[in-house]
């Protein structure tokens, strides 16, 4: 599924990789704020939904090859982190919804296909 389709169904702001947003594919999702849990379990092509916004999320996203990070509850990381994401080709999104709501919407969309 295209990431774009998820974005049409949530209230979201794209923070990085705006130019590539149309081409990003998503296969699943993972919800966690523990970075080692994400490193151990998130799959390539997942959307990672979290409230963790420390710089380390960029390395974790890069190593696990998730398609995008969605920060819940309007969380926006610091500018330097957004720049680092841009540099590393990581798509960051901020949404007003909670991780529970985001995961529910993504789950429903993926299973309606």
């Amino acid at each position: 599924m295209k990431l774009k389709k998820l974005l049409e169904n949530i209230e979201a702001t794209v923070l990085s990789q705006k130019d590539n947003i149309d081409s990003i594919e998503i296969k699943g999702g993972y919800v966690s704020d523990l970075l080692s849990d994400v490193l151990g379990n998130a799959k390539k092509g997942d959307v990672w939904m979290t409230i963790m916004k420390h710089l380390n999320v960029i390395a974790v996203a890069s190593h696990t090859e998730v398609s995008a990070i969605i920060f819940a509850k309007n969380i926006v990381p610091e500018k330097t982190i957004i720049e680092k994401a841009e540099e590393n080709g990581i798509c960051l999104i901020s949404s007003s919804l909670s991780t529970f709501e985001l995961a529910g919407i993504l789950f429903a969309l993926l299973n309606s296909n």
């Binding site: 151990g40 390395a59 190593h63």
Partner: protein, 165 residues
């Protein structure tokens, strides 16, 4: 003080891995990094660069991911739990051997540290999103060889090997 030691060999790789560990041949080249105590800004550099070096060698994507995750977790361990240390990645044409040495304070019991959920992390480490006690199990999950030596009050030595095929 009792030194404690941990060895793990992935079963499917055991014969070639043991042969490698016994011979420790000269690498094609190596990459080295230093890690500062609690330097969460620069940590992650080694795993990213080692991954890139192997990518240039044409190493398969699933292997790159395993190398990146194992090395990153070990980098985080040195950053979060030690007084700093260094990393040397020995690059071969069929595997990568990465060695981590820190400046203490060492682990009381490695087997306990290997148990998922066991952690000595403080509040700061937890705020960074680490300290859930999953780091060492993640390294083991991704490595073909994992060897750790430590002693309370002394330094910790960790080495891992991942084969490209």
């Amino acid at each position: 003080m009792i030194m404690s030691e941990f060895w793990y060999y992935r079963e499917s790789k055991e014969p070639e891995a043991k042969k490698f560990m016994e011979n420790k041949p000269e690498p094609d080249y190596d990459l080295s990094y230093s890690i500062g105590e609690r330097d969460f800004v620069n940590t992650g550099k080694a795993s990213s660069e080692i991954k890139l070096a192997l990518k240039r060698l044409g190493v398969d994507n699933t292997i790159l991911r395993r190398v990146a995750i194992a090395v990153y977790e070990a980098e985080i361990n040195v950053t979060a739990h030690s007084r700093g240390g260094n990393i040397i990645a020995n690059i071969y044409d069929n595997c990568v051997h990465v060695v981590f040495k820190d400046n203490g304070p060492g682990m009381k019991d490695i087997n306990q540290s290997m148990e998922p959920g066991f952690s000595t992390a403080d509040e700061m480490i937890r705020e960074m999103g680490f300290g859930a006690g999953l780091g060492l199990p993640n390294i083991k999950k991704n490595a073909d060889v994992l060897h750790i030596e430590s002693q309370e009050g002394a330094n910790t030595f960790l080495e891992l090997v991942i084969f490209y095929e």
